[in-house]
Symmetry: C2
């Protein structure tokens, strides 16, 4: 299979982690998001992914799956190896809920195309843009920290003592938080899980700076 990726895309970073956790290898095809004109917006890539976003996973029979969470669930349903989602419906719901609190409530607001819109259309200053970026991470992390602190289901990782789908979403978000100087002291559980993940090879190999297309 072939993963269309960009080193700094959070959504592609999630799938790289998931592939590594499952012990799967994939060809990497690089889509340069910040080049003049954006490779993701050009016809060649839009024929693969009509949404013009990364990642996309092209299977060996050329069928394509888009959306990072859909790709990760597909990998988990199709391949053996470490489970990205737990066995019971209620536990799976918890893991999906954590993942979606990042993928639906934080990340979309800080996406490249959104930052471009607020700067290009409204002339938002760099300082305002940074505050916007930090605002959505902080409000999302504050709620997520509360969710992870409740009950006994959080372990070394977001759900229990094995890393999975929720951690694959959390780590790229922590990476972005650091990049935009968000103080992490208020989120001790998130920080602890982050450290536990970052000690593991599947997460280390997926880091943006370790990718072939990183500058």
């Amino acid at each position: 299979m072939k993963l269309y990726t960009y080193w700094r895309s959070s959504a592609a970073y999630r799938v790289r982690i998931a592939l590594n956790l499952k012990g799967l290898s994939s060809e990497m095809a690089f889509v340069h998001l910040v080049k003049e004109g954006g490779e993701q917006l050009q016809e060649a890539y839009q024929a693969i992914n009509p949404h013009g976003l990364v990642p996309s996973l092209e299977l060996d029979d050329k069928q394509v799956i888009t959306q990072s969470m859909a790709i990760m669930e597909y990998l988990d349903e199709t391949y053996s190896g470490a489970r990205l989602l737990p066995g019971s419906p209620l536990e799976r719901a918890r893991v999906r809920s954590i993942a979606q609190s990042i993928a639906c409530d934080i990340h979309p607001l800080n996406n490249l195309r959104v930052l471009k819109y607020i700067t290009g259309e409204w002339g938002v200053t760099e300082e305002q843009r940074t505050l916007w970026y930090q605002h959505w991470i902080c409000s999302g992390f504050e709620s997520l920290e509360r969710q992870l602190s409740e009950g006994h289901q959080t372990g070394d990782f977001c759900h229990g003592d094995e890393p999975g789908l929720a951690d694959a979403c959390l780590i790229p978000q922590i990476y972005n938080a650091r990049r935009f100087s968000v103080a992490m002291d208020d989120y001790p559980v998130i920080q602890r899980i982050g450290k536990n993940c970052e000690a593991l090879e599947p997460f280390q190999k997926a880091v943006p700076e370790a990718q072939e297309d990183a500058p």
Copy 2:
């Protein structure tokens, strides 16, 4: 079970559709999102959902599931009746991808808290706010229209000839598009699916204006 809902919340609207499609009944608890102070932000509700968002599904044993897509997958995995997701991993990936292109790439940008931020912090005008709202729907629908037009998997509904998870996400987004005067002519497939859904009772009963807490 008990669904915490607000008549005009798109995410709650999705779950109301899903419950109806599955033939499930649920107690409804109303969380008034636009009241002074916002009931969703108050301690009583945050004890149920630490993210302060609707919907939340409280099960009979008081366990709570948050995030609309996680709730719908849980309902589908737990209850018999109509299937919200198809049987094969690849088809499930397609349905999730369509649902997520709405729930991750369109809806979060037009959420109440986001509109409040751009108005409150940046003094964006009503006209600019409407353009922003329309922009994310149009760019999302344009891509989705392309995705739905490719191949043979779209039928009377987003995936095949039975309504499911993707349609439960699409219909509330069409409702929002109409509310903000988005011209739908450019999206004939989306429009056709919308009409097919709106002819069905599970969708009709879930409409915001049909809810007990609608003004």
